[in-house]
């Protein structure tokens, strides 16, 4: 293999993208010195192609396309162990949020579709009903992801224990919630929020 010299500069870093991530996450990407403590404690690192410290490294090297195209950001459980243990106070869990948002806005940039589908249905439920109705969420997820039999055996057991409800008390504030969603949509259209 031919050895390539690695050059790090403002250009290779893609400062514009890093700034966007830093603004959304309210933390510093540049402060990370790669001690790896985040990945050591991460319960999800074994499921990721790029463990947390490497996600930050790729950002520092301007290779953010590789992160957005991959699964790692969607396999983060948001448990915040990384942020808790970082000696440089890099809030990595918030960086993951920012990266997911940027990937989400780019629509389907990542290969991980199940987690994105679950998130989408969860948010749709809030907009339509104000609250989460677990049975509906699970049923629609199974249909839309084509896994009709997933967790089928759990259904009757949960139903018998009163854990799956067919009817819920309806929220009387529904007009309020729709207003919040549409105001946020408008702010984004007008460039007032990311």
């Amino acid at each position: 293999m031919k050895k390539k010299k690695m050059v790090i500069s403002q250009e290779t870093m893609d400062v514009d993208f890093v700034r966007k991530v830093e603004m959304l996450s309210d933390t510093s990407v540049r402060r990370c010195f790669q001690c790896g403590k985040c990945s050591a404690g991460c319960p999800m690192a074994t499921f990721m192609e790029h463990p947390p410290n490497r996600v930050v490294r790729l950002l520092q090297l301007g290779q953010w396309q590789r992160i957005l195209a991959g699964r790692s950001i969607w396999y983060c459980a948001s448990c915040e162990t990384c942020s808790t243990r970082c000696p440089n106070k890099v809030h990595l869990a918030s960086i993951m949020d920012a990266l997911r948002k940027l990937s989400w806005d780019a629509e389907g940039a990542s290969k991980e579709s199940y987690v994105q589908l679950a998130n989408k249905l969860f948010l749709q439920n809030i907009r339509s009903y104000g609250r989460q109705y677990e049975m509906r969420l699970a049923a629609v997820f199974n249909v839309k992801s084509g896994q009709f039999l997933k967790d089928l055996m759990l259904g009757p057991k949960l139903f018998a224990k009163g854990k799956l409800k067919m009817f819920h008390s309806k929220n009387k504030n529904m007009a309020e919630i729709e207003k919040i969603f549409s105001r946020i949509d408008d702010m984004r259209k007008n460039g007032e929020a990311l």
């Binding site: 942020s83 987690v115 439920n125 997820f141 949960l158 969603f181 105001r183 702010m187």
Partner: protein
Amino acid sequence: MTSEKTLTYAYYPGCSLHASAGEYDLSTRELFKALEIGLTEVPDWFCCGATPAHNVDELLSLSLCAKNLELAEAVEGDLAVACASCFSRLKFTQHTLVENATKRTQVEKALDAPLKLDGKVKHLLDILARDLGLERLAAAVKKPLTGLKVACYYGCLLTRPTDVPNLDCVEAPTIMEQVIEAVGAETVAWTHRLECCGANFTLSRPGVVIQLTNAILEAAKAAGADCIMVGCPLCHGNLDIRQKEIEGVYSTSYNLPVFYLTQLVGVAVGLESAKLGLEAMIVNPLPLLKSKGLL
């Protein structure tokens, strides 16, 4: 000293407590009634957005939580939250909006209202351990949980995020142990108190949850625990509802009942099984409680 004043709270149950975690809701209401603590549900609360909202849309997450904080202001008392995830999000939102003027302006615009953000957000553990106090809690005990070995499982969100004023120490909390020891139980020292169970991957990637949750059950068993105690409906769902499935996948047997903290404290203050929703638990806790003479 808060000794004899009456305690009363606004109550945010969250979505899970109105469905799969009905027994957490029931046992919270019954326990608070028994301890003479007032609890009024915030009318028409919304979903806090939980993990999916902040995962892809922080502004939406902050706005939903801020709306709930605003609704809670109409009810007397600090805000009592049962679910660790709702608790973490509500607390984080309050902290972020106080600290970050830009985000606050955006959220105020989304809600079309100025924000006060001065109410206190408290987890049930905080109320039992500090507002009521361990002494008064101990004084209310009718059936001390003597001989019951409990593995207190905090999960990830109860003490996080780290930079927000906390329920307890973020890496070595003791508040759960304090509460359950105050009512007579024994606690075990174990390795997985703060490890993540995989939480909401239970819907999208159950394989992940099975692997992570198995490690937690295995550690609790190895430490000699009779049962696990939690303060989060997602942890509970993964540890209790998926336990049989996990035993099958790993060809092992745990048989560890998973209690909500309000259920175990409820047993100690003498509440009967029907008021604590013990029958709703998937891993049957009745044989264990009977063997310890607690039912």
